[in-house]
Symmetry: C2
Amino acid sequence: METASKDLIIEKTANSKIAQVDFDNLPFGKVYSDHMLVCEYKNGAWQTPKIQPFGPLSLDPTAKVFHYGQSIFEGMKAYKDENGKVFLFRPEENYKRFNISSERLAMPAVPEEVFMNGLNELLKLDSDWIPTTPGSSMYIRPFGFASGSGLHASPADEYTFAIVLAPSGSYFAGKVKVKIEERYSRSANGGVGFAKAGGNYAGQFYPTQLAVDEGYQQVIWTDDTSHEYIEEAGAMNVFVRINDTLLTCPTSDRILDGITRKSILDIAKAEGIATEVRKISVKEIIEAAENGSLKEMFGAGTAAVVSPINAFGFRGTDYDLPELNDSYANRLKKRMTDIQYNKSEDPFGWRVEVK
Amino acid sequence: METASKDLIIEKTANSKIAQVDFDNLPFGKVYSDHMLVCEYKNGAWQTPKIQPFGPLSLDPTAKVFHYGQSIFEGMKAYKDENGKVFLFRPEENYKRFNISSERLAMPAVPEEVFMNGLNELLKLDSDWIPTTPGSSMYIRPFGFASGSGLHASPADEYTFAIVLAPSGSYFAGKVKVKIEERYSRSANGGVGFAKAGGNYAGQFYPTQLAVDEGYQQVIWTDDTSHEYIEEAGAMNVFVRINDTLLTCPTSDRILDGITRKSILDIAKAEGIATEVRKISVKEIIEAAENGSLKEMFGAGTAAVVSPINAFGFRGTDYDLPELNDSYANRLKKRMTDIQYNKSEDPFGWRVEVK
């Protein structure tokens, strides 16, 4: 069945897969809902977006995404409350950042109507797919890539924007041992580290695997010039608690302006927690670990919300962090997820209902 | 018609497009031959490679190449001589570098048999497509990307290796005005700049467009830490001639180990040209331009071979380079292309006949 309006074409699936899904045992980002949004950019303009059955994309082998890495994405979630209402969390921030990434990758900006209305209609159509078991949510993946073809190393003339939905259980958010990395780097000054560009992730896999081989689960990236300052934790922003002060590094052209990061800063301030946004040196962290003032470290991002770190390694020495009963990590995660799942007031005005 | 051996399946096209091609007016990298090689990596092993009609690839929308940038490539050429013999130029160097890139991007190494035998058979099958007008050649694009799906930010479990062929006219190799870039950077210390990774190219497009808007055609990249040293010219290695000495910067984890670059160094040495491989500061170039000792600058890469630079801009001031009758650029390009097209002896043993 296909319905069309001026702004959106909807082609519903004839064969829903929903009965095949075990919603009590959802993995993260591996099960996809019945539909996806696709919108193509051709001849200098975005075409009418289409919601269609989830399925393969067909691309010329010389599509520039395969050769020149023009690809960006966002990570979002939709949450269903006890009454079946569905909410997004600060979606306008994802939309804005998507186009900040677009610009840096020389890709055309996606219109707000295509992104926001498309996402809203897609979520309504597949709302039965939004899981409700504790910790689960609908992971949302808007992405864009160069579908135009040609082997000349220059921007493509055609692009595809798409959104897929993955009903997901909790991202692994157990405590992890991380390695402070001094040889490999995530991003350059004047590079694309602040963008959610595909290439930023591919470059992390090999150094992360080396760290895994050494017994760590993740890497703490440092600046590529001096390796004296920490920047991100794996693919997340990083927070450090020294005594009772919560620290995180300032965003830059190397560091992603994380939505979870800034939300946590706002919640912490509202909770009366002292926060500082400033460069954090490896030396300071080591000293704090040695003198007992280092209380917590955690990563922050959409997928895991907060991912506590229970030990870190630096130049072959491992430093354990204390086990706290009332950690900032747990407290901030609870405040934030309570807002996200409509279990508490939303003093910041972050929730947006899908209707 | 499909033929198969243990090592290679060949499915020939029923409808050759060759009659539709104007071989006297070939663009660069926009016309493709009848066939392509495709080989998939699944369940921990490379499957039997297949030569098949050139056509679209079908991919899951959550294939990791769209999201996490695992994509690499090589650029090569095949040359047809007066007698119809076909040659490759140092193909083993491309093969080696392809797997150096693979490793850094956490992708599985491609077996030599798949790459080399596949390329050889593909070129034989589409040998009528290799152009012979002056300056033209068969541009060869081996590439690999993550075709395995999943939204978890980790390496894919399936990959595709492919080779497409593009009969091509001369790459634009006219003289260009370049901007020495101090704000944006191409690569980080400890990053992936030495790899032919897609993401390295996407990150260059926006700064290059800004330079184009200012009246330049390309960018000279400098190191991301101090911006005091030049590194690459657009997507090519860069050479500078001061008085009669030919300089190029050493390769590093930020700078591609170009095959044209090292071949030019070898030819220059054989020609009795003084060469130096060392860091080249912007300050030195400006001083040499001002005192008249800066004779030439040029980019070097497979597509254009040598791309002379006739002016550069730095902090808003443009510096012209002299017009030389007997430039190193022209002399080295001629020596190199004479070897490539079998018009001269090959003292270095670089030519490999396709047969």
